[in-house]
Symmetry: C2
Subunit: 347 residues, 2 copies
């Protein structure tokens, strides 16, 4: 049927030229037909579609990307892919990107500044049409991200943002979440409320601390520096901090932890000391990790709409890419307080 096919190895991918030759027409016609350009007659379009199908033709996007100076790809970099929050954001990004015909390339910084810089440069080389990023805990210089502003490549920060770079940002209302859940502890009758704070170079954790302080202030409770521990919020950090808190001459009777992980390890430590939760000690976390609902006692926490955040991030970046939207906004998604057993002193 296609004589010169005989010469071809099966691995050779057909191109528009192969189709053109087959039909004795030009490659440009094929190209236009394949894009449903109305200038091409119905008949030729159908003929071309048929041959393309039978030859197993797949457009080579490397070629069209080069020609169009557009990769149809959006990059996303997160500290760690297999953290529920980040995985959910990625899931949201993928969903809307795929619908819009974009690819999503992914990379993880492992919270290391060097890896983040290296990844970002690689994304730049790959000419991503836009980048969605939550910066690494360790990152303190931002030249690698400022390039995007200089080159006018769409950039969206989510969750962990860089205040000094003017671009689109999506965060949850960390301050309000922290404020409300601290207020909740106070309402439950807890008197000395400690706080497990995260790295203070990240606004995320700054805001959670501020919310905590504000709630104390609003209720006329003096801020006590000895009741605040700052660490990296790992399981181990949580246990160590709990040990510190419970060793104080006048220990707290409740703890607001900046994530659920530390809330959990602190809770286990406190419980193992024979202290009843929530009767004698209240504990709350942040992030609404899946486990916080199913542990015993279940942990009160602040839910962040991760999947929605991913969707919004993708929408923002697509707006920048396709509609050349120039104005930047900062989306503050509402956080939701989820009350469970760990802080339910008053039923």
């Amino acid at each position: 049927m296609f004589p010169h096919c005989l010469k071809m190895h099966k691995k050779i991918e057909p191109t528009i030229h192969d189709i053109a030759r087959e039909l004795k027409i030009s490659a440009s016609t094929v190209s236009r037909a394949l894009q449903n350009n109305p200038r091409i007659s119905q008949k030729t379009r159908e003929k071309i579609a048929l041959i393309a199908e039978t030859m197993g033709y797949r457009p080579n996007s490397m070629a069209s990307n080069l020609r169009n100076k557009k990769s149809n790809t959006i990059g996303i970099v997160v500290p760690l892919i297999n953290r529920y929050f980040f995985a959910s954001v990625i899931s949201g990004v993928e969903e809307v990107a795929f619908k819009a015909g974009y690819n999503v390339v992914i990379s993880q910084s492992n919270d290391l500044a060097d890896k983040e810089i290296s990844i970002v440069h690689s994304m730049l080389a790959n000419r991503v049409d836009g980048l969605i990023i939550s910066i690494a805990m360790q990152t303190t210089t931002f030249d690698h991200l400022k390039i995007f502003r200089k080159k006018n490549i769409p950039l969206v920060f989510f969750d962990r943002v860089v205040p000094e770079i003017e671009t689109n940002k999506i965060v949850v209302d960390d301050f309000m979440g922290a404020f409300r859940i601290t207020q909740h502890l106070i309402d439950q009758g807890y008197q000395r409320i400690g706080h497990m704070a995260g790295p203070q170079n990240l606004t995320t954790y700054q805001d959670r601390k501020k919310g905590y302080m504000e709630a104390l202030a609003k209720n006329g409770v003096a801020y006590d520096d000895s009741l605040v521990v700052t660490n990296s919020l790992t399981l181990e950090d949580g246990e160590k901090a709990a040990q510190y808190f419970m060793g104080l001459p006048d220990p707290p009777d409740a703890l607001f932890c900046s994530n659920d992980t530390t809330a959990l390890s602190a809770m286990i430590y406190v419980r193992d000391k024979g202290i009843r939760i929530p009767e004698d000690f209240g504990i709350v976390g942040f992030s609404n990790e899946p486990f916080s609902r199913v542990v015993t006692p279940s942990i009160s926490t602040i839910a962040q709409p991760a999947f929605l955040m991913g969707q919004k991030a993708a929408e923002l970046i697509l707006n920048q890419i396709e509609h050349k939207e120039k104005t930047f906004k900062t989306l503050v998604l509402p956080s939701e307080m989820i009350l469970r057993e760990s802080s339910a002193r008053r039923k």
Copy 2:
């Protein structure tokens, strides 16, 4: 310093030709120098590197990819990105791919056959150098995957594999895991052991069921079809199945669930009926989800080395891509039995 830079908008990306013109040499020399080709003298190489740096040059991989007929990209498609197991596999893939200089593009099928097909075609159009995939629950036809074999594009299945396609595969030892944990229930003195099975079109769940049956057989326990429920393994399915089991005239006294999610919801249902776990009723899951360790009682389960699986998948595919490895292997990673409270009748 670079006079014609004045004419350039900031958005124009410099190319090797710009560098060449600047230094009054040819583009090929620049290209070679940038690749550290030894044929270029030390001096010119340094000059070029310097100018490239000051001009903010970034190689355009769309162009080199086209020229080299290689996208330096590996695709990965999973049912759902924000499931811990899959996120961990992705994380493993990303790690070794990045080190090898490859990009990872990601997509999720949502367990829908149509979306999977559409994704795979898009990956094909994007000329991924290889594809790593765990198929959707719903997928029953495999033409979209057979293309890879035909076109000789490296393909690796993990976890949910397609037996009829000959290629690299990575699975965990589902049979052995199921066998051992059922045996464990028997050893703990449970007499009537039920099984919550997953969709039987997936070998993964077939093997888990087989392991269960084999353990019963080995111990001279007759297989009872009324003690096996097959469903989609959601939280709701688990609860419904538990309700069914406990409503039987002669209900089981232990349950081997094909995942931790159903183990959890079944456990909650049983516990709420006032039945003590593990004293009166034993329950075990599969997958070692993060929550299974921290719920009360903690759930005995089978750990799958997800991150390792991702690393291995990436290694396999890179071997195919770079060393033109032709032979296919099926890697069976060992599963690990993790004993916790939910099945600890005998201390």
